[in-house]
Amino acid sequence: MDTLLFNVIWAIPLLAVAISVPIPSTHIKAIKLLHVISGTVVMGIIGYLTYRVYTMGAAPADPKAFPLLLRFFTDIPWLNSINAHYTVGADGLNILLLFLTSAIVWTGMLVSWNIKGNQKIFFALIQILATSVYGVFMSMDLVLFFVFYEMEALCMYLMIAGYGSGNKDYGGKKLTLTLAFGSSMILATLFGIYFQSGLDSWSIMALSRITLPMNFQMWAFPVMFMGFAVSSSLFPFHFWSPDGHSAAPTAVSMLAAGVMMKMGAYGCLRVAMFLMPEAAKIWLPYVVALLIFNVVLGPFIAIRHKDLKYITAYSSISHLGLIFLGLAALTPVGLRGASLQMISHGFLTGLFFATIGMIYERTHTRDITQMGGIMRKLPFLGVGFVIAGFAGLGLPGFSGFIAESNIFIGAFQQDSTITRFVTVLAILSITTTAVYILQTANRMLHGNMPAKYETLTDADLREKIVVVFLVLCLLIIGVCPGWIADMLDTSIAPIFDRIAAATATVVGG
């Protein structure tokens, strides 16, 4: 039963789209309602399944899924001509990410209730995007994984192009093409992995049971890792995210920054590092060096920016840098911190972009120098933004702090010069984060208010639901992180064991 529920997760949005197609656009309310309800249903299902996974704890899972601890494991032959299977399964890590996705999708749909343009198509596109992300987090077969992973490009451009603001075409193209570039790197290495392994199988578990030839790993790992890192905006492939986010409509920014950027980091962990641990051990210290830009310089760039979405984009860049710091730590705490950061940053940036979008709907500008003192007129949204800000600068009580403390402590346990160095820099740069966040909040919310904003009205119920929901998610993780940490630990253990067991010896290389 649970397995069935798990398998319909990605189907429900498509079903909703299929139902909505024949409904004429005159009944747009009904269509939107349909989509929101389907989103709620999915979220409910995933919430229930999360609970199930939590209750199962470390109980032995389907042996076919060894070494991973997968619940609801399903494995059906799919495309015989290329030996692709439909293989899905859930462990603590990806069920939580699934929940994050469903939450962001749900809130995103609520946020874009009154979006301009053809709403029918927009909601359909959101649903398709949701499907793709669900699929990525569910699938344990590389072809399936890649198919879902690449699907995002299909919706992203249309959404940004059709419904965005500002320089939509440039932003959309930059985003789509850069992501496509990343996934082309991934695809190239996927073929390599398949044929080097000689297993005639794309299954992650099967591939993780063997050791790929070292001199293949040595070039394949960096290519694949960077390919994934592109979508997590790791330097030097971060340039798509500021322009993309600024051009995208609110919901798309939420989804892109909140969920899709996690797909990359998730791929790095679940595919690249899991399948090629030996090379990972050799390469990751150099990846850490790149983080100096993400983590240390990113906030500084945010300081110099005036556009809310640019600021948020650069804050995402720095936060995702922390994810990679956690991954590169190669310690259980670090990996857990990275996964926690994925989840927490998802909610966090969702809240960020949601509030920004709502404020933008009212002020019609995102330039913080144009605003000021709107806290008086929009207390609720103001508080929402400030909470997002504090969560962003890692205030205890919110999830961000938990993730960051895990990452810092975990990364410091990695006894390599460069990692230690970057970790210290990262810890020190929490100040810079505080600087740009407070500067933004003060310029926008405090001080004296331009007269033109006298007529602003505060959030309505729908928007309040969104903000409150996201804040609650942040708080729950932040106040009682124990259970989530347990779930992540049990699901990360096999990955870490494999990495720990790997003996890194460069052959040719």
Binding site: P236, F239, F293, L297, G298, F300, I301, I303, R304, H305, T331, P332, V333, G373, M375, R376, P379, F390, L393, L395, P396, G397, F401, I402, S405, N406, F408, I409, G410, F412, Q413, D415, S416, T417, I418, T419, R420, F421, V422, T423, V424, I427, L428, S429, I430, T431, A434, V435, L438, Q439, N442, L445, H446, G447, N448, M449, P481, G482, A485, D486
Partner: protein
């Protein structure tokens, strides 16, 4: 102490509850209701705290450290981050002080915030602060301490910027938060480093370390590789930097005076009585650790002593009543800090400084808080912080006047007022630690303290009124605002005398792994010296500002003065320096460079790639000239081309 445990839950939960209720439900509807809830909640919390303290001290387990309960907050590999309650004399004392003062300030705020529309928010934030402060003092480990450390920082930020339409308040709050955050980043570094080496966050573990077993193993810090023992010392310094920023020691002091932009009750509870002593509390809490790490105590001593003198000098020239108090707070914090520092005498430790410092925390909390409240009600009357507009208030507001007199005497260290005892002990400790320079400075500073406090006192209350608001009108002292002042004046009066023995009996830094000096020379003449200095300073102040032939207007005029006076008056231009550094170096230098890298180098490379592709595309399209002979040519050329490059075995 079952009873105690159950009560102790209330100490934390009540303020939290008040925060939630006021913040979410009551706050923006009725200010009165919010005030009522806040006062009741914090009142009960205070009562609980006192009961628990009594329970603790009578149950005979004092001065031992007890951890009644502790929950695992977040498990790390090998060690846990817990949240719990640590009961020992220090934390008990702090709890009582915090809850009691926050109770008083809540009462006071009823009057002070009567006309403010968003009073509800104020009360909820105030409770948030006391909750986090309590969590801080109850901390059983560094992790918990850091959590609540940040929370007090945030609540302080929110309360300084409470009037967010005032640009000065907003920028002050930003400055306060960022500066403390800057210090906290080092604090966090220290925590990570120490916890990595020690393998635990717990104070109990960290406090009975000895460096011996760490000399052999080395640790790689990225830049250099040093022995773990040195790393521990480094960690101790880093952790102290956290306290450094929080307690606004020089040169991270500038945020505290600027923080006076906030509402006065906030200044009184956060920026004088409780939060700013968190730094001192941290050092006191980790004292055995610092004692083990050689040299750190000396740093602490130097920082504290310098700040003490520095702030006192500035305070002598200020005209803003709240800033005077702020600088006096700085200087008093300096006392506490160096009192902890002077404990190190070469390789041995003189524990008296520790006792003195904690004792001073206690006494200072009361009189400084009440002084701020007094300043608040004065400002409430004359609607300005400026001493220019005051004077002659003594007849108008007698309660306030007499309480102020008591507190000023207390801070000046005139017996039998509370300040005398604690300060006396601190100075004595400096002498016993054989730090004679600090000893001299401390004496001098106590003189300065007396001078500027009485300067403020005389200018505010004596002389003839310089403000129309005072002149002629009869002023009614608000009961809600006067009651706490009076109540707080009592411990400022008697607190020292009563609590002296108590402190000397219970307050010991705990088991140290360094030799302690047990027999110390007594200084019977010290009190007389101190009092004499104080009285002389008092007399000078009287001559300058209160005596019939004192030229008040001239004394208050800062324009035509010597350069030295101006420099001091402008706080040695430290704000300007900070401003310049931040503007030029951080925003101008680093940030601009980063932006440049982003906008020109990275985007430039990207643009180059796209351009190159387009150029090649143009080439292809140029070949598509529509000229058929050329096309036919491509067929022929194509064959030859592939004949040459086709890699055919031909």
């Amino acid at each position: 102490m079952i009873n105690g445990i159950t009560l102790s839950y209330f100490i934390f939960l009540l303020p939290l509850l008040v925060f939630v209720i006021n913040g979410l439900f009551v706050g923006n509807r009725s200010a009165k209701g919010a005030a009522a809830i806040a006062v009741i909640g914090n009142g009960i919390a205070a009562v609980c705290a006192i009961l628990v303290a009594v329970d603790y001290f009578t149950s005979g387990m004092a001065p031992g450290k007890v951890i009644p309960y502790e929950f695992t907050f977040l498990p790390f590999a090998g060690f846990n981050a817990n949240i719990g309650l640590l009961t020992d004399p220090l934390s008990m004392m702090m709890m009582v002080v915090v809850t009691f003062i926050s109770f008083m300030v809540n009462i006071y705020s009823i009057g002070y915030m009567r006309k403010d529309r968003s009073a509800g928010r104020f009360f909820s934030l105030l409770s948030l602060f006391s909750f986090s402060m309590l969590g801080l003092v109850a901390a059983t480990n560094l992790f918990q301490m850091f959590i609540f450390w940040e929370l007090v920082g945030v609540s302080s930020y929110l309360l300084i910027g409470f009037w967010y339409h005032k640009p000065s308040a907003v920028s002050a709050s930003k400055q306060a938060f960022i500066l403390t955050r800057f210090a906290d980043s080092f604090f966090l570094c220290g925590i990570v480093l120490v916890s990595y080496i020690v393998g635990s966050f717990d104070f109990s573990v960290i406090n009975d370390l000895t460096l011996h077993d760490f000399y052999h193993t080395t640790i790689n810090l990225g830049i250099t590789t040093i022995s773990q023992a040195d790393a521990l010392i480094l960690g101790a310094v880093l952790i102290f930097i956290g306290g450094w920023g929080k307690s606004a020691m020089f040169p991270m002091h500038i945020w505290l005076p600027n923080a006076m932009e906030g509402p006065t009750p906030v200044s009184s509870i956060i920026h004088s009585a409780t939060m700013v002593v968190a730094g001192v509390y941290l050092v006191a809490r980790l004292f055995p650790f610092f004692a083990v790490c050689k040299g750190t105590l000396n740093i602490i001593m130097v920082v504290g002593a310098f700040t003490m003198v520095f702030a006192a000098v500035i305070a002598c020239t200020q005209k803003d009543i709240k800033r005077i108090l702020a600088y006096s707070t700085l200087s008093q914090l300096g006392y506490m800090m160096f009192a902890l520092g002077v404990c190190s005498m070469g390789d041995v430790i003189v524990a008296t400084g520790w006792t003195a410092s904690t004792f001073h925390i206690f006494t200072h909390a009361f009189f400084k808080c009440s002084l701020f409240l007094i300043a608040g009600s004065v400002i409430h009357v004359v609607h300005t912080n400026d001493l220019d507009k005051m004077g002659g208030l003594w007849s108008k507001m007698p309660f306030t006047y007499w309480c102020c007199f008591i507190c000023v005497l207390a801070i000046s260290g005139i017996p039998p007022f509370s300040g005398f005892f604690s300060k006396d002990e601190i100075i004595l400790a400096a002498f016993q630690g054989h730090h004679y320079v600090v000893f001299a400075l401390a004496l001098l500073t106590s003189g300065l303290t007396t001078f500027y406090m009485f300067r403020m006192f005389f200018l505010a209350f004596h002389g003839d009124p310089r403000s129309d608001l005072v002149r002629g009108h009869r002023i009614k002292e608000d009961f809600a605002m006067t009651l706490p002042i009076v109540v707080l004046a009592i411990p400022s009066f008697l607190g020292g005398y009563i609590a002296k023995g108590f402190f000397e009996h219970y307050f010991k830094p705990g088991s140290l792994h360094v030799p302690q000096l047990v027999k110390l020379e007594e200084l019977p003449w010290l009190p007389y010296i101190a009092v004499a200095v104080a009285l002389i300073a008092l007399f000078i102040a009287w001559v300058c500002y209160c005596s019939p032939k004192a030229k008040i207007s001239k004394a208050l005029d800062e324009t035509n003065r010597t350069r030295l006076y101006k420099t001091v008056y402008h706080k040695f231009y430290f704000d300007e320096m900070y401003y310049a550094v931040v503007r030029q170096f951080v925003f101008g230098g680093i940030a601009r460079t980063a932006r440049f890298i982003q906008d020109y180098i990275i985007e430039g490379l990207l643009a180059f790639v796209v351009k190159a592709l387009h150029k090649m595309g143009d080439l292809v399209r140029f070949a598509q000239s529509g000229y058929m002979p050329f096309y036919l040519g491509t067929l022929i050329v194509g064959i030859i081309f592939w004949r040459i490059f086709g890699q055919l075995p031909l």
